[in-house]
Amino acid sequence: MRGIVFDIIEFAVHDGPGLRTTVFLKGCPLRCSWCHNPEGLHPAPQILTSPAGERLAGRVWEASELAALLNRQGDLLRPNGGGVTFSGGEPLAQYEFLLAVLARLDHLDVVLDTSGYALPEVYAEVVSRCALIYQDLKLVDPAAHVRWTGADNAWILANIAQLPRLGVPFVLRVPLVPTVTDTPLNLRAIARLADGLDGLLRVDLLPYHRAAGGKYRACGMDFVPDYPEDAPLNLDLSPFDDLGVPVRLAGESYDAPL
C-alpha cells in the first residue's frame, strides 16, 4: 500500500502531547481560503520553487517503509509522552494508506489531525485506532462552510457527533479567521455543539496568522484572501465560558511548522 507524504517533521511542538513526529499526508478535499499548507492540497507530488531553489513536495511511501521509519524513533517518542501525529492535507483522504501505516506502528500513540471530511464509517475506523483526535471545526453553518471551504460540512458534523461513541478523547480546533470564523454567531454555535460532548478535552482557538500566504508563490498559486486579513480578531471566549466548555486560546500556533 502506497501513499504520498509531503513532509515529516520531527520535534513537532504544536501537534499533540510529548515528543512527537508529524507526518503530513498530501491531498485535501477542502479549499479553505486561509490554508497555510497549500502544498498539501493537491494529491500528487509537485515541485516548489523559491529563491532558495527547487524542492519536491510529495514523496511516495510504502506503508511498511513509513511505519519502519516512525518505529525507529519509538525509543525516544514513547518514554516522553509522545508519538506520531498524522496531519495534512487531509490524512483521511488517504485512509487506506493511513490504516496500513497504523497497523504497523509499534505501540506509538497516534494523534489524528483532521478536518473530519470523510465517510463516517471511514472516520470511525481510523479514529478507533488513535489515542487523541485533533478535530478541526471551522464553521457550523452549512452554507457558510461551502462558501469558505468549498465543501459541505454534513460529514464533518456527523463525525463530530459520533466521536463520543468512539471513545477516543478529542480536541476541537477552531481556526479563528477574521470576520469568517470568529463571528459571535459561529463561536456560539460551536460552543453549543461542543457542550456536553463526551470525550471533549477542550476547544482550542487558533488565531489567524499573517504567514498563511507564505508558501503560495512557491506552489505556483496566488494567495487571495477574500476576507480582511488585518481585521482585529474576536477573541471573546464568553460563548464557551457561559456553557462551561473548556476553551483555550492557543499561542500563535495555527501557523505551519516551518
Binding site: I8, I9, E10, F11, V13, H14, G18, L19, T21, L48, S50, A52, R55, R72, Q73, D75, L76, L77, P79, N80, G81, G82, K215, A218, A250, G251, E252, S253, D255, P257, L258
Partner: protein, 698 residues
C-alpha cells in the same frame, strides 16, 4: 526573577562600557625589571602577577557590592624579544603560550583561604630546602599570594574609607581565609579569578560553581543572614561582573573567553548533587542574559523534568546555553580512558566543551584538529586515481590519512614546554605540596584533539560507497574531474551527490556507519600515539572549534590540511558543520534523527567533548508547552546516549536585520561554536555561518 533596578542599570552600564574610562595602556615593564634583577622564567611570571596586582587601584562604585575593575588593558611580556630569543635557545623543547583552558580548584581555594595555601607553600619549602627548583617555585607562588592579599587589603581599605563596611568586612576575611558569607565567597572568587587573567592566562572557567558555593549560601540561609531574593541579587551581580572585562580577554572572537560554569551532576562519591543553587544559577543567568558566564548543565535520563524546564528558559531566551552534558556517557568514558571514578564524577568543561577535572588536570585539550573531510578526500582521490577495486581500499587509505594527521599534530607537541605559572599553581591541587609548578604537570596531563567535519567526511565516503562501488553508477574519472573543476560543468552530478546519497544526521545506518568508522579509526590513531611526552595520552573529541571554517578556507599558519571540493557535493570553501551537526545545506529530518545518528559514536573512546549542535527555529517557542517540549528533547538527548548538546534558537529575519542595523541589536546573543557571543560583534564569516545554519528549505 526580574533584575532589580540597580542591577538593570549596572547591566546596561557594563554593556555600554561605562567603566572603560578607567582603563589605560600603561603596563609595568616586567622584561626590563626582570633583566635588571637577573630573574628566572618562573620569577618573572611571579613578578608579573605581583606588579599587575600592584598596578590595580581599588575602584568601588557606589552601587557595587562585588568589586574589581581592571584598569590595565594589556598584560606585558616577560622577556624582550631579544632576551626571549636568547633564552629560548637554551630550552630543550618548544615553549607554548601561557597556560590556559584548565579549571582551578576554586572550591578548595575558597575553603582553605590563601593564608592556609601560603602556609602550606612555606612548609613544603622548608621540607624541600635542598631542592632549588622547588624553592624557587614556592617562593614565586608565595609572592603571588601576597600580591593578591595586598590587592584585597587595598580594596578593603578603600571600602572602609567610603563607609562601605559590609564590603570591607567581606574583603578582610576572604580570599585570605575561608569566607563566612555567600557575599564574601563571591567577592573572593571575583578577585581570585580576575588575577588569573591579570597573570596572562586565558579561558579561565569557573567550574562547578553550584557545588563549591552552595555551602556558603546554605549557611547564610540557615542562619537567616540572607534570604533567596538577596542571594539571587548577589549572584546576579557576580554574573554581571564577569562581563566587565570580557572584551579584554583574548579569544578568536569577542565572547570566546571560556568563562564557563558547570551546574548539576553528581558529587565525587556519585550522589545526586543538584542543589538549590543549581536552580538559582539557571534563574539568575536568565535574568542577567549576558554572554558570561556560559552555563553548562549535567543531566541524565532521570534528571528532574522541572530542572530541564528551567534550563529551557535560557534556550528560549536565545542565549545559546545551557550546553548539556550527559553524565551517563561522560563519566564512564573518562573512566575508560583512565580517570579515577571520583575525579570523573567531578568533571567540568574547559572553555567550550572539553571535559576536564577541576584542580587536577593540566590537560591541553585543543592541540589541533583532525580534518575528516581532508582524510576522506585524499583517500578518495588517490584510491580512484589508482583504480582501487573495492571500497575497503578507500577506507584503508583513509585510515592511513587519519593516522598521519594525528601523528603530524602530536609529534611536535611532545617537545612542548609549558611556561611556569606560579599563581595558577596556587589554585590547583598538588603544586604547593609537591613543590612543582603546574607547568610540570598534574594528575591528568592528556592532550585533546578535535575531530572536525565528521559529517562531511562520512558523507563523502558514503557517496563513493554507494555510487562508485555499490551501484557502480558513477565513473571514478567523472568524479575526479568534477572535484577538480569544483563541479563547474558537473551540476547534475553535484545534485546527485547532494540529494540522492544518504547523509549523516538522518539516523540512516549506512551513512552513520561511515561516521562511526571515522571515529573508531580516530580513536585508534590517538591510542597508537601512546604517551604524549607529559605522562598523558591523546583524547579524541567531537568538537570543531573554529576549524569548521579554517579547514574549509585555510588560514595563515594552519597546520591542518585544507580541503577543496569534496565528494559529498560540497563546493570549495563551503563551511563544515560546527561540532556534531549535519553538513550545512544537507536535508535532514529533524533533531530526533540527528540525535539518533550522533548517539552511535563510541563515546567510551571519544572523550574530549564536542556537542551535538541543534538549531531550533524560534517559532518552536510559541505557546505554553514549548518549555516542556524542549525539556523532553534534552531528556531524549540523554536517553538516546549522546554525550553533549547545545541548542541555538534564532530567528533568521532577526539576524538579517541585525546585519543591517547592528545598533538596534546590541544585545542579540548567538551560539557560535562552543560559546555564546553578541551577534553584532562577530566577524562576518561567523555571522554568515550562524545564518546559514538557519537557512534551509523553503
Amino acid at each position: 526573577m526580574p533584575l532589580s533596578e540597580r542591577l538593570s542599570a549596572m547591566r546596561e552600564a557594563v554593556r555600554a562600557g561605562a567603566h572603560h574610562h578607567y582603563r589605560h595602556d600603561d603596563t609595568p615593564d616586567i622584561a626590563a625589571e626582570a633583566a635588571a634583577r637577573g630573574l628566572t622564567w618562573a620569577q618573572r611570571a611571579a613578578l608579573r602577577t605581583v606588579r599587575m596586582c600592584a598596578g590595580e587601584p581599588p575602584i568601588i562604585e557606589p552601587d557595587q557590592r562585588i568589586v574589581f575593575t581592571r584598569t590595565q588593558r594589556r598584560v606585558p611580556p616577560l622577556y624582550t624579544p631579544d632576551d626571549w630569543a636568547a633564552f629560548r635557545a637554551t630550552l630543550d623543547g618548544d615553549p607554548s603560550g601561557e597556560i590556559n583552558n584548565i579549571c582551578a580548584d576554586w572550591g578548595a581555594v575558597l575553603d582553605q583561604g590563601l593564608l592556609a595555601r601560603r602556609a602550606q607553600a612555606l612548609a613544603t619549602r622548608a621540607r624541600l630546602a635542598a631542592d632549588p627548583a622547588a624553592v624557587e617555585f614556592l617562593e614565586a607562588a608565595v609572592a603571588t599570594i601576597d600580591s593578591v592579599l595586598d590587592l584585597a587589603a587595598r580594596y578593603a581599605a578603600e571600602a572602609r574609607r567610603l563607609g562601605r563596611n559590609d564590603l570591607a568586612a567581606a574583603l578582610d576575611e576572604a580570599p585570605a581565609n575561608r569566607p563566612t558569607s555567600f557575599h564574601a565567597a563571591l567577592q573572593a572568587l571575583r578577585l581570585l579569578q580576575a588575577v588569573v587573567w591579570l597573570s596572562g592566562h586565558m579561558h579561565v572557567g569557573l567550574g562547578r560553581l553550584d557545588q563549591y558555593l552552595w555551602p556558603y549560601l546554605a549557611a547564610d540561609l540557615a542562619a537567616g543572614r540572607l534570604d533567596w531574593p538577596g542571594a539571587e541579587e548577589l549572584l546576579a551581580e557576580f554574573f554581571i561582573s564577569l562581563n566587565r572585562d570580557s572584551d579584554l580577554y583574548p579569544g578568536v572572537q569577542v565572547g570566546d573567553n571560556g568563562q564557563s560554569v558547570m551546574l548539576g551532576g553528581v558529587d565525587r562519591a556519585g550522589r545526586e548533587a543538584v542543589n538549590p543553587l543549581t536552580w538559582a544559577a539557571l534563574r539568575v543567568a536568565g535574568a542577567v542574559a549576558m554572554i558570561d558566564p556560559k552555563i553548562n548543565l549535567r543531566v541524565t535520563p532521570d534528571t528532574d523534568h522541572e530542572l530541564l524546564r528551567e534550563a529551557s528558559r535560557l534556550t528560549r531566551l536565545g542565549l545559546g546555553f545551557p550546553q548539556y552534558a550527559n553524565d551517563d556517557q561522560v563519566i564512564p568514558g573518562l573512566v575508560a580512558f583512565g580517570y579515577d571514578w571520583e575525579d570523573a564524577r567531578d568533571y567540568t568543561v574547559a572553555a567550550c566543551w572539553e571535559f576536564i577535572i577541576p584542580g587536577r588536570g593540566m590537560e591541553i585539550v585543543n592541540v589541533g584538529a583532525v580534518s575528516f573531510p581532508a582524510a576522506a578526500d585524499a583517500a578518495i582521490r588517490a584510491g580512484l586515481a589508482a583504480g582501487d577495486a573495492g571500497f575497503q581500499s578507500i577506507l584503508d587509505r583513509c585510515e592511513a590519512e587519519i593516522r598521519a594527521q594525528v601523528h603530524a599534530l602530536i609529534e611536535p607537541e611532545r617537545r612542548l614546554i609549558l611556561p611556569p605559572a606560579p599563581y595558577f599553581s596556587v589554585l590547583m591541587d598538588g603544586p604547593l605540596a609537591t613543590g612543582r609548578d603546574l607547568s610540570a604537570g598534574l594528575k591528568y596531563n592528556n592532550f585533546g584533539l578535535h575531530g572536525a567535519g565528521c559529517a562531511a567526511g562520512a558523507d563523502a565516503l558514503q557517496a563513493i560507497h554507494e555510487l562508485v562501488y555499490d551501484q557502480r553508477t558513477l565513473a571514478p574519472g567523472d568524479l575526479l574531474a568534477a572535484l577538480d573543476a569544483d563541479f563547474e560543468g558537473y551540476e547534475s552530478l553535484r545534485t546527485r551527490l547532494r540529494e540522492t546519497v544518504t547523509k549523516v544526521g538522518n539516523n540512516d545506518d549506512d551513512a552513520d556507519a561511515q561516521l562511526v568508522w571515522l571515529f573508531e579509526r580516530f580513536a585508534a590513531a590517538c591510542a597508537a600515539e601512546g604517551d604524549n611526552g607529559r605522562g598523558g595520552r591523546i583524547r579524541p573529541g567531537t568538537g570543531t572549534a573554529m576549524f569548521y571554517v579554517w579547514l574549509a578556507r585555510g588560514r595563515a599558519g594552519l597546520r591542518e590540511p585544507v580541503v577543496g571540493a569534496t565528494a559529498d557535493g560540497r563546493h570549495v570553501g563551503d563551511l563544515f558543520g560546527a561540532n556534531l551537526a549535519p553538513t550545512p545545506g544537507v536535508t535532514v529530518r529533524g533533531p530526533l534523527s540527528t540525535l539518533q545518528t550522533f548517539a552511535k559514536i563510541p563515546y567510551d573512546q571519544i572523550v574530549n567533548g564536542g556537542p551535538v549542535t541543534l538549531e531550533l527555529a524560534d517559532n518552536v517557542f510559541r505557546g505554553d508547552e514549548a518549555l516542556d517540549k524542549v525539556a523532553l528533547l534534552v531528556r531524549a538527548f540523554a536517553q538516546v546516549g549522546c554525550q553533549q548538546m547545545q541548542i541555538n534558537t534564532v530567528n533568521l529575519a532577526t539576524l538579517e536585520d541585525a546585519q543591517r542595523h547592528p545598533e538596534q541589536h546590541r544585545h542579540l546573543i548567538v551560539r557560535v561554536w562552543g560559546w555564546s557571543g553578541y551577534f553584532v560583534e562577530l566577524d562576518p564569516v561567523y555571522q554568515e555561518h550562524v545564518m546559514s545554519r538557519h537557512r534551509h528549505g523553503l
